[in-house]
């Protein structure tokens, strides 16, 4: 059943580890299914011939660093109907945004900025790396002209659904209560804490999180933990501003 023509898709990568692009190719069966609905015109990692826009949908990962990348990013916005940012780098700034907190003398480069601070974006697929299942569900919803939605509860809800004991109660640091779910609590299932790669929930309370972490780790460590994937608080504030 295919009442609509194929949509055109461009997949772009700015400065990052390109792990999210690998995630797209991770399950080739799913990817080949996706090709029935999308015409992938630009995908540097996956194909040799890459065409310029305009595209119906563009996926962008990474953060813009050089002048060329800023130009490319603005070009993508101009030529794409829908821009989806994928991965923590594009969404929050990523690991490299640790640079922002260093003294300016130590680094010559400019501050790392996430993509929503540079251009207007339409949708976010968070995660480090993203889950290809979630991304393809997003793309399928867009193909059928339905607005895709993100999970609106914290990681804790899914963590309990997977019958894990609370790490915070065991005296281990975890950012599950303020982190957006949808990952099926994959890290906690494997015995690792949640480091908040998917960004903050809508009602995230950072002061409260620090208070809960106080008996477990120092204040400095909890701040570091909460800013591993970029400035949480900034993203949260931006989202609440948008809401108003």
């Amino acid at each position: 059943m295919k009442p609509y023509p194929k949509k055109t898709l461009g997949i772009y990568s700015l400065t990052c580890c390109e792990g999210c692009q690998f995630e797209i190719l991770k399950d080739y069966d799913d990817f080949s299914q996706l090709l029935k609905y999308y015409d992938v015109r630009n995908f540097r990692l996956g194909q040799e011939e890459n065409l310029p826009g305009p595209f119906d949908v563009s996926l962008v990962e990474g953060t813009p660093e050089s002048k060329e990348e800023y130009t490319l990013l603005r070009e993508i916005r101009k030529t794409s109907a829908i821009v989806i940012v994928i991965g923590s780098c594009a969404h929050l700034g990523g690991i490299q945004s640790e640079r922002n907190s260093l003294p300016k003398k130590m680094t010559l480069a400019k501050d790392v900025v996430s993509i929503p601070e540079v251009i207007n974006t339409d949708f976010i697929v968070p995660g480090c790396p993203i889950s290809h299942k979630e991304l393809f569900a997003f793309l399928m919803d867009i193909y059928w002209n339905k607005v895709p939605t993100l999970h609106d509860l914290a990681v804790c809800f899914e963590c309990r659904q997977n019958e894990n004991q609370c790490l915070l109660k065991e005296g281990k640091p975890c950012l599950g209560p303020i982190t957006r779910g949808g990952c099926d609590s994959i890290c906690v299932n494997g015995g690792e804490a949640c480091y908040g790669c998917r960004g903050a929930t809508d009602q995230a309370d950072f002061a409260k999180m620090k208070e809960i972490l106080k008996p477990i780790i120092s204040d400095e460590d909890s701040t570091n933990m909460m800013t591993i994937y970029g400035d949480y608080e900034c993203e949260w504030k931006r989202r609440t501003d948008e809401g108003k």
Partner: protein, 324 residues
């Protein structure tokens, strides 16, 4: 009826049930005790601490396609604690007019004795009453167990195994001794939100709104329909567990939220459990299993909150602590 059985016969009993029904029991799988379908008898944990997720995981599974659940199959739930049995009855009463959940006739309930821990307070809501099961298993000294039957179905099953002795008149050990006075002012106190605005605000300030409590509560049954477009071109409508702490739960069109603040959401949770639930089903939607206390990352404690709202509950909870 009371039957004395030994360890071997207990295994045989579970084996008989497994042969007749699709059986679910607490088992140790991958280091955690979870309620799962019985495949082997070796990792059964019949007298365990409460599992993280209650029976609703079996009766009301997450992300199951609508219309695909088999409403006629017979299942057996083995090793439920008595509070869970009470919760199960309230749960079935809630879904009595729908085809989403199995009927009571299709469920064999085998309860087992529990060890009350610091978090549970079943005596407050009368959920320690030994009632509502088909078979009740009780641990005795050594390798001995007793099985009590409460229905014809239960007796038929026990008749199939070789029993050493059986007694007509015998009652299981009570779980927690307490009086039968369950007249509380909770309903009235929680209804008057304006008088307790500071109280609710203080709780909301300590709550992340993560929804962990709603995931583990045996009597939280809100769900949403999830429309999924699959990559292979098919689409389906799923039943997905929802939580009243989710934004999508109370949001209507044009970004209008009926319960925008966390204080509204946590108040709504208590209001549903102790006011609306009582009006609709005649019972509080809480059996005092204590799962939400274990699950809460913010260390909120429903026992303290209920104690603050009702003096009688405070006396019972604190009085019970002093004795144990």
């Amino acid at each position: 009826m009371k039957y004395d059985i030994n360890k071997h016969q207990l295994g045989k009993l579970v084996g008989t049930i497994t042969g007749k029904y699709q059986t679910f029991a607490p088992q140790e799988i991958g280091g955690k005790v979870v309620l799962a379908e019985v495949k082997t008898l070796s990792n059964l944990r019949l007298f365990s601490r409460p599992t993280v997720l209650p029976f609703k995981k079996i009766l009301f599974p997450d992300r199951v396609e609508f219309g695909k659940a088999d409403g006629t199959k017979s299942i057996a739930l083995v090793g439920l604690h008595v509070c869970d049995v009470h919760a199960l009855h309230i749960f079935l009463r809630q879904f009595v007019d729908s085809k989403l959940v199995l009927r009571r006739d299709n469920i064999l309930i085998v309860a087992s004795e529990c060890e009350p821990d610091i978090n549970c307070f079943c005596e407050v809501f009368g959920a320690n009453r030994l009632d509502g099961f088909d078979i009740y298993l009780q641990k005795e000294e050594g390798d001995k167990y007793s099985a009590y039957t409460n229905s014809q179905t239960g007796e038929d099953i026990l008749d199939e195994i070789d029993i050493i002795s059986a007694e007509e008149q015998s009652n299981p050990r009570p779980i927690k001794h307490d009086d039968d006075d369950f007249e509380y002012s909770l309903e009235d106190t929680i209804s008057r939100r304006a008088d307790f605005e500071d109280f609710w605000q203080r709780i909301a300030n300590n709550c992340f709104g993560c929804g962990a409590c709603t995931a583990v509560c045996p009597l939280c049954f809100c769900f949403r329909q999830e429309y999924k477009n699959n990559i292979d071109g098919s689409s389906k409508i799923c039943l997905k567990w929802d939580s009243c702490f989710a934004k999508g739960f109370s949001e209507i069109q044009n970004r209008n939220d009926l319960r925008p603040e966390n204080v509204d959401r946590i108040y709504n949770w208590y209001h549903h459990k102790f006011v609306r639930g009582k009006r609709e089903l005649g019972r509080f939607l809480c059996v005092g299993c204590g799962r939400c206390i274990v699950a809460c990352p913010a260390n909120l404690n429903i026992k303290n909150i209920l104690s603050a709202l009702d003096e009688k509950i405070e006396r019972r909870i604190n009085g019970g602590n002093k004795n144990s």
